[in-house]
């Protein structure tokens, strides 16, 4: 029976508030002294120096990948990062050519370009109240 289920029998249903309270109280946390005694027993049974765990016991790459992804915030965060990375690559590869060539022609003076000053000196003088 799952804990969330309530017994259909009369006694079980009537007792459910008491059972629920005890379930919610959870497990007791063992004191440091008890933990020390238990670990001392473990050490007496096997007083060998600690060994590295066998490679076959290590978590597989899927488990480790999932741990890294959890650290980053799970699948949604990783998907967002991947999308951003792809967008950056795309912008680098597919930069607009006309803009690139126009800039290059301006810098090396090879193109037939003219610079037009759309705001005259008189405009600035009028704007600053000199006229």
């Amino acid at each position: 029976m799952k804990m969330t289920e309530i017994d259909k029998d009369k006694d079980g249903a009537a007792l459910e508030p008491w059972f629920a309270a005890m379930r919610e109280a959870g497990n007791a946390a063992p004191g440091d002294d008890l933990v020390a005694r238990v670990l001392a027993d473990a050490g007496e049974r096997h007083p060998l120096p600690a060994l590295a765990i066998r490679r076959s016991d290590r978590p597989g790459w899927r488990v480790r990948l999932r741990a890294v992804m959890d650290e980053l915030g799970g699948w949604p965060a990783v998907a967002g990062l991947a999308t951003s990375a792809l967008a950056g690559v795309w912008i680098g590869v597919a930069a607009p050519d006309p803009l690139t060539s126009l800039t290059q022609e301006y810098l090396d003076g090879s193109g037939e370009m003219g610079v037009v000053d759309v705001l005259t000196a008189e405009f600035f003088a009028a704007d600053e109240g000199a006229l």
Binding site: D9, W18, M22, E24, A29, A67
Partner: protein
């Protein structure tokens, strides 16, 4: 990387690592199972100091058994429940019966008690009522309704048939209801779970 590699390993691998002399595996097994072992012993015995002794003894049997553990044959938690129950029953048989003053009484709380105290009161009252049950009924009720185990697993833990588990839990609940449900009105519970 995982913060604690051992915390992700299954019990079988931890037992194998411990049997090979790995102290970190013992720490991981202790962290994973000692709280449940201690709590189960306390529910069956009703006394903290006795429960701690049983928990230590159960874990000692785990360390002894580790080299012989056969992976995949049984759940370690099931094995530990059985060991704890046997140790508790041995102690209860030696003590014959708990002296009346050793049985915790429900707290004497009047009407108007705040909700936060209701749960604590209920836990205390159920604890006292459980201690008045025969040991096998108590074990069956705790495993079924507190630990949430299925009848098949309880039968494996207790070494009886599923029908016997059903009978033990039914008789245990009948006795608990007779002790506890009548207190609801006396204690002025305003239960919102029902």
């Amino acid at each position: 990387m995982p913060r604690d590699t051992f915390a992700e390993l299954p019990d079988d691998a931890l037992l194998r690592a411990y049997a090979a002399g790995d102290g970190q595996a013992a720490r991981a097994l202790t962290a994973r199972h000692l709280p449940r072992v201690l709590t189960h012993a306390r529910r069956l015995l009703g006394q903290q100091a006795e429960a701690e002794d049983v928990a230590q003894e159960a874990m000692l049997r785990l360390w002894r058994m580790a080299p012989d553990w056969r992976p995949g044959e049984a759940k370690l938690s099931t094995w530990l429940y059985r060991v704890v129950a046997n140790l508790c029953l041995d102690r209860l048989r030696r003590a014959r019966a708990l002296p009346l003053e050793a049985v915790p009484e429900p707290l004497d709380t009047g009407p108007g008690v705040v909700r936060a105290l209701q749960d604590a009161t209920r836990v205390d009252a159920l604890h006292g009522a459980l201690m008045r049950l025969p040991g096998r009924q108590r074990e069956a009720v705790v495993l079924r309704h507190i630990e949430g185990l299925g009848n098949d697993e309880i039968a494996a833990i207790m070494g009886v048939s599923v029908e016997a588990v059903e009978s033990l839990t039914a008789r245990g609940k009948r006795a608990l209801a007779a002790q506890l449900v009548g207190q609801r009105d006396e204690l002025g519970y305003e239960d919102d779970r029902d």
